[in-house]
């Protein structure tokens, strides 16, 4: 089961209210169970739908792929938004499925570990993450900067073995970064690439450096070609990702949402603008349902200047933050170019 998140409505008080007054309950519910001698009932948490409410991820439609929309099936992790399929190493399984993003654009896409019947010598983890580079709380322009930032914040006794280095894997530029812990004898190798304004990371950890090396080599088997674009017209038709497109002269008509209720959360939004300059898809990284509705209504009235590539209008994907930005810092405006790796995936 997966996983295009729809707008989750706040639980409405649609069911009947409880009977007024305690007496109505007292008179019809046996009290013997409240004696000290009663057999203790299960302490497990409620199993009824614990519907997620509050600020959550949502989308304006159910067909456009989302970053968190990947899943494991038939021995492979496939993500239509990022456009790749990654075959799970032999004997490995998905331990934890992907999660909706944080307000700062951080996604855990999938966590893989050896299965219980794994016969290999190397126990470890493979975590695939994505970071929306528009919403990072500090300005980081690309995968190299992100990995250098990670390197500067390594904890414990971790030692760098391979500085962040650009290399080609499966025909795509990746930044490769390796470190290890002398104390725990655990080894990491991180492979990061830029896809649609996100830095996607394959974070491989293993107790056995040889197994780790083998797993790193297997990333070469990433399959880019299996996923059709969301418009069905082939991957070259994917939107062009331009960070911070929604400002200045690019915005011809603008109507900011006015949230009915004062809250403290920022509302980070990723949108796809069609060739006519209208918003055709909205992905709320996190928003309360009323914030999502208000923002959707407002964005329906926005008009953008169409983006031209080779003289022809193309769809644009970009990010906007509504509400308080808190500690989020605005990154510099950057435009995707032919040589920029952020558009490489859309060329495939």
């Amino acid at each position: 089961m997966k996983r295009l998140f729809r707008l989750l409505a706040f639980l409405a008080v649609s069911a009947s209210l409880p009977a007024r007054g305690q007496d109505a309950i007292q008179s019809s519910v046996p009290r013997s169970g409240d004696s000290p001698s009663a057999t203790p009932l299960s302490k497990k948490i409620p199993e009824r739908a614990l519907l997620a409410t509050g600020a959550w991820s949502s989308t304006s439609d159910s067909t456009t792929p989302l970053p968190e929309g990947g899943s494991v099936a038939n021995g492979a992790y496939t993500n239509a938004y990022f456009g790749f399929s990654y075959k799970l190493p032999a004997g490995w399984m998905e331990k934890a499925a992907g999660s909706p993003p944080s307000a700062t654009g951080s996604y855990a896409l999938t966590l893989l570990t050896p299965a219980d019947n794994y016969k290999g010598s190397g126990r470890g983890t493979i975590l695939v993450t994505a970071q929306d580079m528009f919403f990072t709380p500090i300005p980081l322009a690309n995968a190299v900067e992100l990995l250098n930032y990670t390197k500067a914040h390594l904890q414990g006794d971790l030692k760098v073995e391979l500085e962040p280095t650009v290399t080609m894997i499966a025909g795509q530029p990746f930044t490769s970064f390796a470190y290890w812990s002398p104390g725990t004898a655990l080894y990491w190798h991180v492979l990061a690439t830029e896809i649609r304004c996100h830095t996607v990371q394959f974070i491989l950890m293993n107790r056995d450096p040889k197994t780790l090396e083998s797993l790193v080599q297997e990333v070469n088997r990433l399959n880019w070609a299996a996923i059709p674009s969301e418009t069905g017209a082939g991957r070259d038709d994917a939107p062009v990702c331009i960070k911070d497109y929604a400002r200045g002269e690019n915005v011809l008509e603008r109507n900011d949402p006015v949230f009915p209720e004062h809250r403290f959360n920022p509302v980070p939004v990723r949108i796809i603008i069609d060739k006519e300059g209208k918003v055709r898809h909205i992905h709320f990284l996190t928003a309360f349902p009323d914030q999502a509705k208000t923002t959707t209504d407002a964005l329906a009235q926005w008009r953008f200047k169409p983006y031209l590539r080779d003289g022809k209008p193309v769809e644009v994907e970009t990010g906007i933050i509504f509400g308080p930005e808190r500690h989020l810092a605005k990154p510099p405006v950057r435009e995707a170019t032919q040589s920029n790796s952020m558009t490489v995936a859309s060329q495939r």
Binding site: L8, L11, A12, V13, A15, S16, L17, P18, A19, R20, G21, Q22, A24, I25, Q26, D34, S35, P36, L41, K43, I45, P46, A49, L50, A52, T53, G54, V72, M93, E94, K95, A96, G98, S99, S102, A103, T104, S106, A108, L111, D116, L127, T129, P137, I138, Y149, T150, H153, Q155, G156, L158, S181, G183, T184, Q201, I203, M205, N206, F264, H327
Partner: protein, 492 residues
């Protein structure tokens, strides 16, 4: 106790095998000395400040003193309550701690909630709820949803339902008030629990600046563990709140006032009105009139005495003195040089290896080993001090640990990173005390979300899996192991 995951058909027993009898075990409660519950140096040091000593001791006394319905100098208990003194619940390993036990060092005593009838704190027709046992833990109960005879409704409750009422108490003869229907709630799977949070080192936590917390948050960008926490905010000034299981409370004063009213039914200058239970509020019936103003003196029951002849500690309300007492509590003492428990002795070398592994595998991405405080106007020891709290004070998605209680910005699956200082002498772990050994507590960091809940996987799964990749024990050598991490935790 082992848990079964629900991620996939082949993953069911992953954590069972990793955590099963391969040799790593929780060494148990650290014994020898009680390493928490004393004051800052200005209180407990060799040259104490007499003013601070007086305020600390007075707050300590009030924290411990049993409250009554009426008829004493500490009135106001009820009409609903969990216990009659702060120090009853917060007592392991000392005043200000968590849930006690009579079988673990320092053998404080049985769960006091199980003794209310025998000790004349509650009276018949009150009965001991099914989930209260002498062996603990101390529990507070909440119902995520309101329910009727037919079952749960879709209307959120989430408030505390106190265990006992004053009915039957000779000092409350006018009050007829039934206990909540805990068994009925349980039959609908509509009950969740919380254990007391320790308040050691509260002054340090209060004095950690917003920028310090934000800087730590920013430093986690791109972390290799899939961690992405956020903050809870208080509704008054939109600053980061930091106390409580969901970081829902801003300050010790707010914590004191809320607990005094919610857990003991004593109105105060922060929460001035007698508190009906959530059903009574939701049904617009409130408390029965015979259960109001039982002291006869009106509200609030705890107040600042407006009397110019009072001075010093006598001039303050109970909640003020509670807050001052907790604010002056020292952070727990760690034992990195080694320690003993009832079953084993742990060496400094093992603790050191475990401390390194704790950060390396990713636990420290949330359980930040230390944060530095701001300049303090209260005590020099709280100025630019290193608080070894092992928490980022953020709220994180915790998968199957979800209790479906919303508090502030915290959703039903989000919990504050529990500070680990003092964990070496704690007995019950996680928000509802479900785990009584640290290995289970670690494994429960990656419980599968309840099917259909809509909650995502826990943010802690990668760190937990990295921990599980370590060998179970060092085998008598120096290889860093899961056992080393457990030994390190019990040194805190």
């Amino acid at each position: 106790m082992k848990r079964i995951l629900k991620y996939s058909s082949t993953s069911v027993v992953v954590l069972m095998i990793v955590g099963s009898a391969f040799g790593q075990t929780d060494p148990g409660v650290r014994n020898g000395t009680i390493d928490a519950g004393f004051g800052l140096t200005s209180v407990s040091g060799s040259s104490p400040d007499p003013n601070k000593v007086a305020f600390f001791n007075n707050g300590f006394t009030r924290f411990e003193t049993a409250k009554t319905v009426t008829g004493s100098s500490n009135n106001g208990l009820g009409p609903r309550f969990n216990l009659n003194a702060c120090g009853q619940c917060h007592s392991q390993p000392a005043n200000g701690g968590s849930s006690p036990s009579s079988s673990e060092f320092p053998f404080v005593g049985d769960n006091p909630e199980s003794e209310v009838l025998s000790r004349g704190i509650a009276f018949s027709p009150n009965t001991i709820p099914y989930f209260v046992s002498a062996s603990g833990p101390v529990l507070e109960a909440r119902f995520p949803y309101f329910f009727t005879n037919s079952g749960e409704t879709s209307e959120r409750d989430g408030g505390v339902h106190d265990l006992y009422t004053v009915q039957g108490n000779p000092d409350a003869s006018s009050c007829t008030l039934a206990q909540p229907h805990f068994n009925t709630a349980a039959s609908f799977n509509d009950i969740v629990f919380r254990i007391p949070t320790p308040v050691f080192g509260a002054g340090y936590i209060e004095n950690i600046g917003e920028d310090t917390l934000i800087n730590f948050f920013n430093g986690e960008v791109g972390n290799p563990f899939g961690v992405s926490g956020t903050f809870n905010y208080n509704g008054n000034d939109r600053t980061i709140s930091r106390f409580g299981w969901k970081a829902q409370n801003k300050s010790m004063l707010l914590f004191s006032g809320e607990a005094f009213n919610v857990e003991m039914g004593i109105t105060n200058e922060l929460f001035q009105n007698e508190r009906p239970n959530p059903d009574e509020e939701n049904n617009f019936v409130g408390l029965p009139s015979g259960c109001l103003n039982l002291t006869g003196t009106g509200y609030p029951e705890d107040k600042t005495p407006i009397n110019t002849s009072n001075s010093g500690t006598a001039a303050s309300s109970d909640i003020t003195m509670f807050a001052i007492f907790m604010r002056l509590l020292e952070q727990p003492t760690a034992r990195p040089s080694g320690y003993s428990t009832a079953t084993t002795t742990v060496t400094a070398a093992s603790i050191s290896r475990g401390q390194t592994a704790f950060s390396t595998v990713g636990c420290a991405a949330c359980h930040a080993p230390s944060l530095t405080t701001d300049t303090s106007n209260l005590d020099s020891e709280l100025t630019h001090a290193t608080a070894h709290l092992y928490s980022d004070l953020e709220i994180h998605h915790m998968g199957g640990l979800a209790d479906n209680i919303l508090q502030g910005m915290a959703m039903g699956d989000q919990f504050r990173t529990s500070p680990l200082w003092g964990v070496g002498q704690r007995i019950f772990f996680l928000h509802d005390g479900r785990a009584s050994d640290l290995l289970t507590a670690i494994q429960d960091h990656c419980l599968a979300p309840v099917s259909g809940s809509g909650f995502p996987a826990s943010e802690a799964c990668t760190a937990e899996a990295n921990f599980a990749a370590l060998p179970a024990t060092s085998g008598g050598g120096t290889t860093t192991s899961q056992q080393d991490v457990l030994n390190f935790l019990r040194s805190l």
